[in-house]
């Protein structure tokens, strides 16, 4: 059973007063593809490296299966860092390239051959085993490099931003190939990226980190539909969710001229007369009755069937997930709004439109000070 468990694992650098990873509690299931995602400095790479043994664990523990590996050196942990090493040896056959780490480890020749053949089958390299790397295409060579990690049959694959080296075009292709390969192999995989689109398309579950703290770990669907807090709401999804601060009374939130009702349980958790509201661009539509949030259209991006409206509104205050205390901004300047609309009759630049949520179930409410989710 190759599960991975972070048990209140922390990493505090000497001289620093804030942990780079703060009491991380995270369990990865056997065979699961878990993606750690977050902005630069959030602790995702540090967490992975703690798992790899490349980063000391200041407090807490890390388990692989039921083995406590917290103080184990990297090579005893039975993990494989994939994509660390792309070198292919030109004079060795593809089979030898894939198997040489096992040769070094003293594994028997027939066992090596067996594992190499298994991996080659999964990687669609079986006909090339006795060829030299020169005879292979770029994509095939990359798979040989992956084969080196696969034949070691580790309990866990670790991947730290493996696509960052590739140009934009190849990233998208490679993403799906890695994901489908992992599904075929069924090896527990922990994958780090800063790109939330990558996280959402690849992971069985996604773990969002910020400032060393775990914000939410969930399936991509749940993460998208029910973000736990303002940060996750604004981080996941592209284009980003519209986040704004609206006036609040005991009826609900004032969305321009429209009142957004709030469930009583959610309302009970609020304090004060303001609330943070989030609505995704695709959940906004242009009102036919002229009520709703007034938005002055700055730019219209026409994409055929859809169009995206970029505008500003004075009826709401800005919320910036990267600067929640709004130190860098004038709180009262207009909030930017993005909405998706029918591409056939989009509004024009300069026009003022009124936007309303298409479905009240797709409106998210967050506490104004803590940012925590209020709606159910």
């Amino acid at each position: 059973m190759a599960t991975v468990t972070f048990d209140k694992a922390s990493r505090l650098y000497p001289g620093s007063d804030k942990p780079a990873v703060d009491q991380l509690d995270l369990s990865v299931g056997d065979g699961e593809f878990l993606v750690l995602v977050g902005p630069s400095g959030c602790g995702k790479s540090t967490s992975l490296r703690m798992l790899a043994g490349l980063e000391e664990v200041t407090s807490g523990s890390i388990y692989i299966g039921d083995r406590d590996v917290t103080d184990m050196p990297p090579k005893d942990r039975d993990i494989a860092m994939v994509f660390q090493n792309y070198a292919l040896y030109p004079h060795m056959s593809v089979a030898d390239n894939m198997g040489f780490a096992l040769k070094i480890a003293g594994v028997a020749k027939d066992e090596i051959r067996k594992r190499v053949e298994e991996a080659a089958k999964i990687l669609d390299l079986a006909p090339y085993l006795d060829r030299k790397p020169k005879a292979l295409s770029g994509g095939q060579r990359q798979r040989v490099a992956m084969g080196r990690a696969i034949v070691r049959s580790p309990q866990v694959f670790l991947m730290d931003e493996p696509l960052s080296n590739l140009d934009a075009k190849l990233r998208v292709q490679t993403r799906t190939q890695i994901a489908s390969l992992q599904r075929r192999l069924g090896v527990t995989t922990v994958y780090v990226t800063h790109d939330q689109v990558e996280a959402m398309t690849m992971g069985d579950r996604v773990a969002v980190l910020k400032d060393g703290l775990l914000q939410q770990v969930d399936s991509p669907r749940n993460m998208y539909d029910k973000p736990n807090n303002v940060f996750v709401a604004g981080f996941i999804g592209s284009p980003a969710m519209n986040l704004m601060t609206l006036p609040l009374n005991d009826q609900g939130a004032q969305f321009g001229t429209m009142l957004l009702p709030i469930a009583r349980e959610a309302l009970a958790k609020t304090s004060g007369n303001r609330i943070t509201v989030g609505v995704r661009p695709e959940d906004l539509q242009i009102s036919t009755t002229g009520e709703g949030l007034p938005v002055q259209v700055d730019v219209v991006e026409e994409l055929g069937a859809d169009a995206y409206i970029y505008g500003t509104t004075d009826a709401a205050e800005k919320v910036d997930i990267d600067d929640p205390d709004m130190r860098g901004e004038d709180k009262n300047s207009g909030e930017n709004i993005i909405a998706r609309t029918d591409g056939r009759r989009p509004p024009t630049r300069g026009e003022t439109v009124h936007l309303v949520p298409g479905d009240p179930g797709h409106v998210h409410f967050f506490d104004i000070s803590s940012g925590a989710r209020l709606s159910v």
Partner: protein
């Protein structure tokens, strides 16, 4: 926002030098397609990325095509390593904002200066191999790795392919070439060091197996033993440089002995922690800061010559012999150095005719001449003069050596670039 107006191209060059020749290179072409007349040579060995060597204003540069963030990161890393006096290649520039004639984006390029007289390891194996060459390369790499780790630098991709070697009085000095996966920390954890060393072991084994598969290395040679050697050499050097030693209060000479041992290994002790236990009967010492280049620095101070560590040791030894032979031991060491330089070293260097100067660096020539003199003296049964040894060496040895000033080109060991899941 996706409007499709052609983006106005501004090629951006961030450079450490005012090398205007950089602007003349065909940045609007993918590196793989650069015309032959621009290329000094193809790279030798295994490389993840497209690399080409070019000549600008008589100097040779390596151009590597990689994504901009990685290029910038590596550029900065190499600059940091140079500042920390870690043996590494010199970064020259990052070229970004590249587009081809159709306005299509091209990857950025990292440019580094070719290290003169440096040799990729495969160059050393393409001739008749001496069995101990491999072990010497590995020893040099072990020293480099220790130096990197002492500085807090974690390499992440230790291999012979990522290293260049310079001759160093018959040994080798290793220089880091690829800092792409490197990280600089204040100190490294044991896990990080262990991982780097194990990576070195695995990569060296692979490289040796590959040479054997290409029949460039004797079939009797044992790659596994060679690769284990890097672990041994690293561990013993690391231990020597950093372990805490305990001894009785009365054995304080051991402090000097430790420092001397470190000096002999080529390291100066920058800081030594000395503690006694509360009874005052035993002493613990642990070097806290060690700097490589003990002999290099001393020679530089005395003569202005900037050479590798073993070469420096050799020259300093010769200087000492010179002082003894000429009754100068009581003299100021600067005076001895100056006299030795003008009457011994410089005449040897000047005696190398221009057409042979591309073969070896002056300090290495001097080392080989001294060796040659020793062999000649042995053969005839008495001391042979340096002049005579020099003449004989030039005619019988140096003239047959290949030029090593700029060893670049590839032949049978072409790179196997992987540029992604292209097909």
């Amino acid at each position: 926002m996706r409007n499709h107006d052609p983006v106005s191209t501004s090629l951006q060059i961030t450079s450490t030098t005012a090398e205007s020749g950089l602007l003349d290179l065909p940045w609007d072409l993918p590196l793989e397609t650069w015309p032959e007349e621009r290329i000094a040579a193809l790279p030798r060995g295994i490389s993840r990325h497209v690399v080409r060597f070019v000549r600008i204003s008589g100097k040779v540069y390596a151009v590597k095509e990689i994504t901009e963030p990685i290029a910038r990161r590596e550029y900065q890393m190499l600059r940091n390593l140079r500042r920390l006096a870690v043996p590494s290649v010199e970064p020259t520039a990052v070229v970004s904002g590249r587009h081809d004639a159709d306005g299509e984006h091209l990857e950025a390029a990292l440019i580094t200066r070719h290290l003169q007289f440096s040799l990729p390891y495969r160059a050393l194996f393409s001739q008749t191999l001496r069995p101990d060459t491999a072990t010497r390369l590995i020893d040099a790499l072990a020293v480099l790795l220790v130096r990197l780790h002492l500085t807090g630098f974690y390499w992440g991709d230790v291999s012979l392919s990522n290293t260049l070697f310079r001759r160093d009085a018959g040994e080798f000095a290793a220089y880091l070439v690829d800092a792409e996966t490197g990280e600089l920390h204040t100190t490294l954890s044991p896990g990080q060091r262990a991982y780097d060393v194990d990576l070195a072991r695995v990569n060296i084994a692979g490289e040796m197996f590959d040479l054997q598969a290409g029949e460039l290395l004797d079939a009797d040679f044992d790659p596994l033993a060679a690769s284990d050697r890097i672990v041994d050499r690293y561990e013993s050097l690391w231990k020597e440089l950093t372990h805490e030693e305990s001894f009785d209060f009365g054995e304080r000479w051991r402090v000097d002995a430790r420092i001397r041992r470190l000096n002999e290994l080529g390291f100066d002790v920058g800081e030594l922690a000395i503690t006694t236990d509360f009874t005052g009967t035993s002493v613990q010492i642990q070097p806290k800061v060690v700097d490589a280049g003990h002999h290099t620095r001393r020679l530089l101070r005395l003569t202005g010559l900037d050479v590798e560590e073993n070469q420096a040791r050799r020259l300093l030894n010769d200087m000492d012999s010179f002082a003894a032979a000429n009754d100068l031991q009581g003299e100021d060491e600067e005076i001895v150095a100056h006299t030795w330089l003008s009457t011994v070293f410089e005449p040897v260097v000047r005696a190398v005719p221009p057409q042979l100067r591309g073969k070896l660096e002056p300090a290495e020539v001097f080392h080989e001449v001294l060796q040659h003199r020793w062999f000649m003296s042995e053969a005839v049964g008495h001391d042979v003069g340096l002049d005579e040894a020099m003449r004989n060496y030039l005619a019988s040895q140096l003239v047959h050596r290949r030029d090593e000033k700029a060893v670049l080109g590839g032949d049978d060991t072409e790179p196997v670039p992987i540029v992604g899941f292209a097909g």
